[in-house]
């Protein structure tokens, strides 16, 4: 078990224990995001919506990668919001070398970049690939699996906002049950997305036996930064799956983006863990457990579960059961944070 706040060794800062930083923490132990000279790899002026979780997660992740590689990082981006809102021709928000090719081939392009560096015997420059859940769990999935299987020296980061947000909120294989999307309307006997299926890419990644797999969330930014930093110090195929709420697609208030993410972690629906070579090595315990309702209620995509005339108790229970199963499987409760 690592510390709940990996950057903070002394548990003596009641105020600011969970904040980004604290004046009492040794300057060298502070987050990249707390430093005045952070890279701002994804800088101002991008066209993401107000309160975009993906923009936040991506700056954290790529800044951490840049710091860990002494600014020697190339990013490969799949098509999706992150690509579109950062690079409307001829502008870019990226202050790093950055490549975009197609929606479904980012892992393969990253493999190619890594191979080219190898040919040139360049050991300093590191490769990060990134994409949305659609680009990762659906269309890019074959390339991704190949990249894992060959153990290519790439860190792949998936920003999971649980749908094809860039094209207007369509369902992906990462869309949760009951969620309303443009293609899973809240109508009929089984409103919203179906139950019982879905694709858990972190677990699939683990099944490839790669050196490092982790889940992270913008609810715990210290942890996100620590995981990216850790991954950057490992070679071979690595995968980090970051939960990034989308105010537009989820129907949550822009100021609630971090809150939704936090509730999703605290209710158990999004477990935070690390795995090395197929084995879970670390989980982040739930600090203040909440029922799933608290998470669901503040999103319009689940509004049909809470209709005044007939709340959908059965489906809410089914979602709670998913959370409970995660809590059991990953041992998310109890001491040891």
């Amino acid at each position: 078990m690592t510390d709940l706040n990996p950057q903070q060794k002394v548990k003596f800062y009641q105020k600011g224990t969970y904040t980004t930083s604290n004046r009492l923490v040794d300057a060298r132990a502070r987050l990249v995001q707390a430093s005045m000279d952070r890279n701002n790899s994804l800088t101002c002026g991008h066209r993401a919506c107000q309160g975009c979780g993906e923009a936040l997660g991506a700056r954290y992740a790529i800044d951490a990668a840049m710091r860990a590689s002494h600014n020697q990082t190339i990013a490969v981006n799949a098509t999706g919001c992150l690509e579109v809102f950062t690079t409307p021709y001829p502008e870019t928000s990226w202050q790093i070398p950055w490549v975009h090719s197609l929606f479904g081939n980012a892992p393969a392009v990253a493999t190619g970049v890594a191979a080219a560096l190898k040919v040139r015997k360049n050991k300093q420059v590191r490769v990060v690939a990134q994409g949305g859940d659609g680009g990762t769990t659906d269309i890019g999935f074959g390339c991704l699996s190949g990249m894992f299987e060959r153990n290519d020296d790439v860190l792949y980061i998936c920003y999971d906002n649980q749908g094809y947000m860039n094209t207007g909120v369509q369902r992906s294989s990462a869309t949760p049950p009951a969620a309303r999307t443009a293609t899973t309307q809240a109508v009929g006997d089984a409103p919203g997305n179906v139950f019982g299926t879905g694709k858990n890419v972190p677990l699939i990644a683990m099944a490839h036996n790669i050196p490092y797999v982790a889940t992270a969330s913008i609810a715990n930014l210290k942890d996100l930064e620590a995981k990216v930093t850790k991954a950057m110090h490992i070679h071979g195929a690595r995968y980090i799956h970051v939960n990034v709420p989308c105010p537009l697609g989820w129907g949550s208030a822009p100021h609630d983006t971090v809150r939704v993410a936090r509730l999703m972690v605290e209710c158990g629906l999004f477990p935070l863990f690390e795995a090395e070579f197929g084995e879970v090595t670390n989980v982040i315990k739930i600090r203040k457990r909440v029922p799933v309702e608290e998470y669901l209620k503040i999103q319009k995509r689940f509004a049909h579960l809470f209709r005044k005339d007939k709340p959908d108790i059965e489906r809410i229970r089914a979602i709670q059961a998913m959370a409970d199963a995660n809590i059991k499987r990953y041992k998310l409760l109890g001491e040891g944070a």
């Binding site: 101002c44 107000q50 971090v258």
Partner: protein, 542 residues
């Protein structure tokens, strides 16, 4: 420039896209008044001295206290800390132990001999201060800091007023009191003991005082006539407390003592009676425990020491060695009315603790000075009806606590200072209070309060040694760090790190942050994720 195939434009940066134009709401940094500061009668900036203490800068913390309150070691012990009732941390686990940290700092200052420098140039003005209680000492201290010469006149043989003659030693040891008083004296404030003022105006004139601050307290016990066949001795709480300090009569109190009253003085008298060897000490109060004006923790400590509480009782008469009490009930308005039933308590002494009146005959013939219901009337600037004569403390309408008197002394000093210059003092405007709802408490670690060590019960019952001990350094530091910094930025970097638009600039240690309004889209994520409520959303003006 030669461009690749199908490329017509040079690469640009998104910095040229001013997304600030999307904004309908604007985040702004604010400072709010922490509830502790808001309720401190001495006007201490509690949060700010805790901020210094948090990093182990105890000297900085003490200096900050001393800007408002010259007696932290005393206050940390004897103040009823209204700040702790208001502390937002009560809604999380328990209040920050403000008094315990203050005492730690106060004691450290005494141990290290810390001293306050007077920077103000001498003004050449002399101010007469009458009474060396908390009000007078505070006024003299603050006047000195402002460059005036203050001299204190005290009728009693020792300085300190009620801090010496009213507060029992188990709450405030004499050496602490002496240390903090002598530190004020050492700043150049003479205290003339055994000097009762009889003609205020004449003394002022004779000795060249330009203004006066009167703060002689309320010493005369309120009396209540009780039919008594002489079989039960009658005493007054305040006299008992005072006589102990003067070294008089302790044994006279007898074995069975009944205290009448429900305020802090009643509790002090009861606990003192226990220490004097009384075997049965009963407090009789006419209403219920919740309605007792005494502080609940003091009632609790008294009960621990064996004091018994008989609530809803009114003294009827004393007869044949018994105190006969009427049993009462509260009527609909909360007023106690007799039930007709009686209770008989065998007693040696009945101790009246019904409050005190102001007794200051030397003001009777000062023209302009007005009184109402026994209190001295003052205006918003602490001045009595007589020009240049200011007053404060228990004499004036107030909640009559030591800390209020310290606050009065400070306020009076500032008003006297302005008056001496022919001006009127304008207090600085206060920020709105930081409510619990304005905090995002997710970011605070659970931290149970530290506990001050307590003297064991046998020693508490048998002597006047101090009941509460000091925090050690580690605990004091821990306790200071429990503060949430309500309403004021503590530079946690949350906003800076959480903005999806990179629209916040970090200005560096101590300099906080600023918004890049060219790019801020107004999502208010920073507002919601600020732990201490130091960012506010306002509607964007067009």
């Amino acid at each position: 420039m030669e461009k690749p195939f199908a490329i017509t434009l040079d690469p640009g940066s998104s910095l040229s896209n001013r997304t600030g134009s999307w904004r309908t709401f604007r985040p702004v940094y604010v400072d709010r008044l922490p509830p502790c500061n808001a309720t401190c009668p001495a006007g201490e900036n509690i949060q700010h001295w805790l901020y210094h203490a948090e990093e182990g800068d105890y000297r900085g913390a003490w200096d900050e206290i001393m800007r408002n309150n010259p007696m932290p070691a005393i206050m940390g012990r004897a103040c009823y800390h209204t700040c702790e009732n208001a502390c937002n941390r009560n809604n999380l686990d328990a209040t920050v132990g403000i008094h315990a940290v203050e005492r730690f700092l106060g004691d450290l200052a005494i141990e290290k001999g810390w001293f306050v420098k007077v920077d103000a140039p001498p003004t050449g003005k002399n101010v007469m201060v009458i009474g060396s209680g908390p009000g007078g000492l505070s006024a003299a201290y603050h006047l000195t800091l402002l460059g005036h010469k203050a001299a204190i006149f005290e009728a009693m043989p020792h300085a300190g007023g009620m801090m010496r003659y009213g507060i029992p030693r188990y709450r405030l040891p004499i050496k602490v009191l002496d240390a903090e008083i002598s530190r004020i004296e050492a700043m150049g404030v003479p205290i003339y003991l055994n000097t009762r003022v009889s003609d205020l105006k004449a003394t002022m004139k004779e000795r060249g005082f330009h203004a006066a601050f009167v703060s002689v307290g309320a010493w005369a016990p309120k009396r209540q006539d009780v039919t008594n066949d002489g079989s039960v001795k009658v005493a007054y709480a305040i006299d008992i407390l005072r006589s102990i300090e003067e070294g008089g009569m302790p044994a006279e109190i007898g074995k069975r003592v009944v205290i009448v009253g429900g305020g802090n003085v009643a509790i002090d008298a009861a606990r003192t009676a226990v220490r004097l060897g009384a075997e049965e000490v009963i407090i009789a109060y006419r209403r219920t425990r919740e309605r007792m004006p005494a502080h609940q923790f003091e009632i609790h400590e008294a009960l621990e020491e064996g004091v018994k509480l008989h609530t809803l009782r009114r003294v009827n008469e004393c007869k044949e060695g018994y105190i006969i009490l009427d049993k009462m009930v509260l009527d609909d308005t909360g007023w106690p009315v007799p039930t007709g039933q009686l209770e008989y308590l065998e007693a040696d002494t009945i101790v009246m603790a019904l409050g005190q009146d102001v007794d200051a005959p030397f003001l009777d013939h000062v023209s302009g000075v007005e009184k109402k219901e026994g209190n001295l009337l003052i205006n918003d600037h602490m001045m009595t009806g007589a020009d240049g004569i200011f007053a404060g403390g228990d004499m004036v309408p107030s909640d009559r606590t030591m800390t209020t008197a310290v606050g009065h002394g400070k306020k009076a000093a500032r008003n006297i200072d302005a008056w001496l210059r022919g001006e009127t003092y304008q207090p600085p405007k206060k920020h709105p209070v930081a409510t619990f709802e304005s905090l995002n408490t997710w970011y605070y670690e659970d931290a149970p309060p530290t506990v001050q060590p307590q003297l064991d019960i046998i020693r508490r019952q048998s002597g006047f040694a101090e009941v509460l001990g000091n925090l050690d350094e580690a605990n004091a530091l821990f306790e200071a760090r429990r503060c949430l910094s309500c309403g004021n930025c503590f530079e946690c970097d949350n906003c800076y790190s959480i903005c999806p638009d990179n629209a916040i600039t970090k200005l560096g240690p101590g300099r906080r942050f600023s918004f890049k309004y060219d790019y801020c889209k107004g999502c208010s994520l920073c507002v919601k994720e600020c732990p201490c409520g130091a960012i506010l959303t306002i509607t964007e003006s067009t």
